[in-house]
């Protein structure tokens, strides 16, 4: 239980760091961001939204507030999800833009990432078990090579071959034009079909990391005495591999889950851009390119917090899987 509370404390701290980071970044950067933001808005737009300059000043600095009172107000703004108005989607509030785009990313990354974890560790397990065998010498180099190529390159390749040349799957957007999001089969089927290629890219890009990671740890585990003991007892090879070696080898990769997920969340920006997938990553790229600073600021916060939440879920899994953690 103490372990659990310590982890919880770490997450609270990490979220606080993320908050402070997004608060300080615009204030540390050269030049005044606020002037850049106001350039995007016309006088009539500003007149129609009284108080918006004040909100921007709280979020980005400028004005004549002291930094401490600005910080307190900033935290209050974040707590009430008031990130101002997006300048590139004026006058839509930033929180609303995110609410429209984030669900696509969460479903896409969440599913694809768990598939890549399951697939990668399974391949790594078998590769380590039969080290030097055919399986090992075919799959490990393939995944190593795949991991070397940036996800956007894999995405462009897959888009070119599977999407354009073979025409198996749609290559742009999250659902067919003319459909409106809702819980009906036509929409869900369309969304699934549009999600396959982006998901495939994420799976391919990340499975390699899990394969190598699992293989390395597993090789060390295999030479443990309890594995030799299990074999000496005459247990089936498969049972020794999964229940004895893999069960113990999976913990380090599981601990690396957080960092991997943080990378995956970053990588989704590229995949979404290539496939024009209207998720949070594509929105961040568009916002950064269009200097829509309110939107980039809020999205950075979202991108920092998502892996923490995922990591917390993994900690619970770790808690259930590892008896050493439970008793600590």
């Amino acid at each position: 239980m103490r372990w659990f509370l310590r982890r919880l404390g770490f997450y609270v701290f990490a979220i606080w760091v993320a908050l402070t980071l997004t608060f300080l970044l615009p204030r540390l950067m050269p030049g005044s961001p606020i002037g850049g933001i106001l350039q995007h808005l016309s006088a009539s737009q500003l007149a129609a939204n009284p108080g918006i300059i004040k909100t921007y000043e709280t979020l980005f600095g400028g004005g004549n507030q002291s930094i401490w009172s600005a910080y307190v107000q900033y935290l209050h703004h974040v707590a009430t999800l008031n990130f101002g108005l997006s300048t590139s989607n004026f006058p839509t509030p930033v929180s609303q833009v995110i609410a429209h785009t984030l669900p696509y990313s969460i479903v896409l990354v969440g599913l694809a990432f768990f598939i890549s974890f399951a697939l990668g560790t399974a391949i790594g397990m078998v590769a380590a078990w039969r080290r030097g065998g055919t399986f090992d010498s075919i799959f490990v180099p393939i995944f190593m090579a795949l991991g070397a190529f940036p996800a956007y390159f894999t995405a462009l390749l897959i888009m070119y071959f599977l999407g354009l040349k073979l025409g198996w799957f749609p290559i742009q957007h999250a659902y067919d034009n003319g459909l409106s999001p809702g819980f009906n089969w036509t929409f869900i089927w369309s969304a699934v079909r549009h999600g396959i290629l982006p998901a495939l890219v994420i799976v391919l890009a990340f499975a390699g990391g899990w394969v190598l990671n699992m293989r390395t740890v597993m090789i060390n585990t295999i030479s443990e005495d309890y594995v030799a003991m299990a074999q000496a007892k005459g247990l089936k090879d498969r049972r020794v591999m999964t229940r004895y070696a893999a069960r113990n080898a999976i913990l380090p990769p599981l601990n690396g889950f957080a960092a991997q997920f943080a990378t995956a969340v970053g990588g989704v920006i590229f995949v979404e851009l290539v496939f024009s997938y209207p998720g949070a990553g594509y929105t961040l790229q568009q916002a950064a390119l269009g200097k829509d600073l309110p939107l980039t600021q809020a999205l950075l916060l979202v991108f920092a917090i998502c892996p923490l939440v995922a990591n917390f879920i993994m900690d619970i899994a770790n808690f259930l899987l590892d008896p050493r953690v439970r008793t600590a």
Binding site: A14, L21, M29, P150, T216, A262, L284, F303
Partner: protein
């Protein structure tokens, strides 16, 4: 993308359980020392290490020879007379929608990527080694603070952070990007190196040096660093290629300087002008391959360093392992 993970490196937790069979632990071969240093011979004796060195030498040669084999202007100056040409003798890698020569982009882009990756790797390595050693050696509150910072940076996604920072930046030159990228990537290295330094600190030979009354400075530089050198080298190579991936990625997103030739910018043009949708495969294939081959070369180098320093990962040791399993298997006889 941006496979920012020490995949082939042991996670710090398991590193404690492993015997540190590092380069420096190998018996010194002073007698045989010739022109080639021992670690180079070790690395070249390993298949993966040799392949990695070969790939990187090729890339460096490409970057150095750039002025002789490709015209720099054709990589950055639009030329409407030669747009969208498939690979030919005149344009070996074809041209893109703006008439930029892809071959020139690839050759001149190698300079930027290698320079940036190397510099960012070096800066991050110095920073990470210093902080990792301080954390492990001083301990107490200093260690707590450094570890906390490192752990927090470990879970904050690098790409969105860098996208956000570059959105604020007014200039995105080579130097600025190198510093920004090194400043965000050092924490990965520090995490690895701190773990390694911690396990070494409690080793008998370090304790012995301490009891013998050696100064902290001598223990750090004389005992710890030489034993960590393979880890430091591995961490450097890791940041080297992650920096290349991250930099090209940011450029791909449109957050780069389009007036300079680079791999990321080449891919950015390929994606914004929808060359892919028009079936112009050469526009994205060659710059992408350039990144992939470089990163693959560095990954192989990393795997080579790992195998040389951690003999358990070597496949050559397989025979002994098979023998063990044969012995453990019921009915398995060894004559």
């Amino acid at each position: 993308m941006a496979q920012i993970q020490p995949t082939t490196l042991e996670p710090p937790d398991s590193a404690a359980a492993l015997p540190a069979a590092d380069l420096a632990v190998e018996p010194p071969q002073r007698a045989r020392r010739g022109i080639v240093p021992g670690w180079v011979r070790l690395l070249l004796g390993n298949n993966k290490g040799r392949a990695g060195v070969a790939v990187m030498l090729g890339m460096v040669a490409l970057a150095l020879l750039a002025p002789f084999i490709a015209d720099k202007a054709s990589a950055t100056n639009f030329n409407i007379l030669v747009t969208r040409q498939a690979p030919s003798l005149h344009h070996p890698f074809g041209t893109n929608d703006q008439g930029l020569d892809v071959w020139a982009q690839v050759v001149w882009g190698a300079r930027r990527s290698l320079l940036l990756g190397f510099a960012a790797g070096a800066i991050a390595t110095v920073l990470a080694t210093a902080l990792g050693l301080i954390a492990a050696f001083v301990g107490g509150i200093v260690d707590d603070v450094i570890s906390l910072v490192v752990n927090v940076f470990f879970v904050i996604p690098v790409i969105p952070l860098l996208v956000d920072i570059t959105a604020f930046l007014h200039t995105r030159g080579l130097l600025v990007m190198t510093l920004v990228i090194a400043g965000t990537l050092w924490s990965f290295e520090a995490r690895i190196l701190r773990g390694q330094a911690l396990t070494l600190r409690n080793r008998d030979f370090v304790q012995a040096a301490r009891v013998a009354g050696e100064s902290t400075r001598r223990i750090v530089f004389g005992e710890l660093l030489p034993n960590m050198i393979s880890r430091i080298a591995a961490a450097f190579v890791l940041v080297f290629y992650v920096a290349i991936l991250v930099d090209a990625g940011l450029e791909f997103l449109g957050l780069g300087d389009v007036s300079k030739p680079s791999w990321g910018i080449a891919l950015y043009w390929a994606s914004t002008t929808s060359s892919v949708l028009q079936g112009e495969w050469w526009v994205f294939l060659f710059p992408g391959l350039a990144i992939g081959i470089t990163v693959l070369g560095l990954t192989l180098l990393l795997a080579g360093i790992d195998e040389v320093s951690n003999p358990r990962l070597r496949t050559e040791r397989l025979r002994r392992h098979r023998l063990r399993r044969l012995l453990a298997r019921p009915g398995g006889t060894v004559s």
